[in-house]
């Protein structure tokens, strides 16, 4: 059996295991009346339809109208919200990525720039941007800055750091003899950059891009929470959370879709990676950590 097949099967196996665990726990609670079997000790999570809807109810909710009497089904409503959030996240990802990459190139080109700016780049990550999000959003509201720009800025702020750090590490990764070789050909700085340093940096860049993709989605969702933007995923989740007691399965469905945004985004990056890097170098990329990145960028 091939490795991929085996790990796909194990993956599906884990999903099934979790589903069985959910339904089994629910069944147990329903049978015992909410306690551990043969005891009077209450289960930590209630098993009624409100707290733990059946998985099939959650999936079915996706295909029923989002609002009573409305014509669009929940899935469509959620996908529209997801698309809206994805747009902000993608904008932030692009801007953050461009800034991060440019900083990496600037730092490898100029030692002075690195010494002067690197402390600020590192210091920028000590600001807990997600925690400040509400302040930023209210600020921007008073300054009449469109909210989607603030959301994009929060995403970009989260995305740029991992990319800057790993771009720099990657640009530095060629061995000394490779640089001497380029020098012996009297290659121009641009030729060294594009023929040696950037190709060498790609296996470092992709893990950072994946972290940045997730981070930018988180930034967008959290940014939307106080933004009173009716269109995004953050708001959709809050709304369904408010209507939880009436229709719990809708909240669960919306959280599934929110999780999908992250997976699809990272999947897109992985797809580009497959196109750009041959298999032997993807193995190398898998071994490269996105560095001190997770530290600041995931929540």
């Amino acid at each position: 059996m091939s490795r991929t097949l085996r790990s796909t099967l194990s993956f599906v196996g884990i999903l099934l295991f979790l589903a069985v665990l959910w339904e089994g726990y629910k069944w147990m609670g329903q049978t015992t009346g909410g306690t551990w079997p043969l005891t009077d000790v209450n289960l930590p999570i209630r098993t009624n339809e409100r707290s733990m809807p059946h998985l099939w109810d959650i999936l079915a909710a996706l295909f029923r109208p989002a609002r009573r009497g409305g014509d669009s089904i929940l899935l469509i409503v959620l996908l529209e919200a997801a698309l809206f959030t994805f747009r902000s996240a993608f904008l932030g990802f692009l801007v953050g990525g461009a800034i991060g990459f440019s900083l990496g190139v600037l730092f490898i080109r100029s030692h002075i720039a690195e010494r002067g700016l690197m402390p600020y780049v590192v210091a920028s990550q000590t600001v807990p941007i997600l925690a400040i999000a509400p302040i930023l959003v209210v600020w921007a509201g008073r300054a009449n800055i469109p909210k989607w720009i603030v959301v994009g800025v929060i995403s970009a702020y989260l995305a740029f750091f991992p990319i800057a750090i790993n771009t720099l590490r990657g640009l530095r990764s060629p061995e000394a003899t490779a640089s001497e070789l380029m020098r012996s050909y009297a290659a121009s700085p641009n030729q060294v950059l594009w023929k040696l340093q950037v190709p060498a940096a790609l296996p470092y860049l992709f893990p950072a891009l994946k972290v940045a993709a997730t981070a930018s989605v988180i930034g967008a969702i959290v940014g939307e929470l106080p933004a009173s933007m009716p269109d995004g995923m953050g708001r959709a989740i809050l709304n369904f959370a408010a209507a939880f007691s009436a229709a719990p399965e809708k909240l669960f469905a919306s959280i599934l879709v929110a999780a999908l945004i992250g997976i699809v985004f990272v999947g897109l990056v992985a797809g580009v990676e497959r196109l750009v890097l041959p298999a032997s170098r993807r193995v190398q990329a898998d071994r490269i950590e996105a560095g001190s990145v997770l530290e600041n960028a995931t929540a």
Binding site: A131, I135, I221, A241, F244, I261, N296, T298, A299
Partner: protein
């Protein structure tokens, strides 16, 4: 020690200069407090609102700490299972990587409904799930990072599988574990705060920040952020101190 101090100096200098520039900027241009409060105003707020802030801060900090502990324990157990049985590893690792690419924080409203909106258990749950994946992924990588020749050495002693796990794989994995724990420490506090943005007790930092920001009381909001950062640094420093105690042999420590 001396050189470590010197390494910190530029950062500390930058911090002080930043504060002075900020203060000067606010004073010279007479910026209103509801746009950008001066550092001194934030400090003053801290003294006026001490009890409220401390009670909110400690509440959030304890949730973060609880989640960190629970999530890390669960991650360690899972990682050991994954290191021991290849079928667990082959399924769990891709699953964890996929889960790690989702915005896990959106579990917050579910936690609110499961554990009650004001209960700390909800925050602990969210933070635990949040730290679980990065810690587990790193630890599995660490446990699998023993070199073939090290494993051959163990095999030459006819060491049973369990001995190998304890005497070789776990020590090799410790640096990975600690770097993951540092990530998790920073993550846990931010996670606890953001979880509270989705709703929670008024007496918590997340709610405090959103409420005060909504009321344009930015001094209070900023004071809460500063407090949160302080708690975050405490947590991080504790993990870093543990790292020095537990793995003094590792390069990352020898270099500093």
């Amino acid at each position: 020690m001396r050189s470590r101090l010197r390494g910190w100096l530029p950062a500390a200098g930058l911090f002080v200069v930043g504060l002075v520039v900020w203060e000067g900027f606010v004073r010279v241009f007479d910026i209103k407090g509801f746009i950008l409060p001066a550092p001194t105003a934030i400090v003053a707020t801290f003294f006026n609102e001490t009890s409220e802030l401390i009670s909110a801060g400690v509440g959030t900090f304890l949730s973060a700490l609880g989640g960190l502990v629970v999530g890390t324990m669960a991650a360690i157990v899972t990682a050991f299972a994954a290191a021991r049985w290849s079928f667990v590893r082959e399924g769990a690792l891709p699953f964890a990587i996929a889960a790690n690419s989702t915005p896990i924080i959106v579990l917050a409203p579910i936690a609110n409904s499961w554990f009650g909106i004001t209960s700390a258990a909800g925050s602990i749950f969210v933070v635990a799930v949040l730290v679980f994946f990065p810690v587990m992924i790193n630890l599995v990588r660490g446990l699998m990072s023993a070199t073939p020749s090290q494993i051959e050495l163990m095999n030459s002693y006819a060491a049973p599988r369990r001995t190998q796990l304890w005497k070789l794989q776990f020590p090799t994995a410790q640096p990975y574990l600690f770097s993951a724990l540092k990530i998790a420490a920073a993550l846990s506090l931010i996670g606890a705060i953001v979880k509270e943005f989705f709703g929670g007790s008024q007496d918590r930092l997340g709610q405090y920040i959103t409420t005060k920001a909504g009321l344009l009381q930015f001094e209070e909001a900023w004071a809460a952020i500063v407090l949160a950062s302080a708690f975050g640094i405490v947590l991080y420093a504790f993990v870093a101190w543990m790292e020095r105690r537990v793995i003094p042999w590792h390069v990352s420590i020898r270099q500093t």
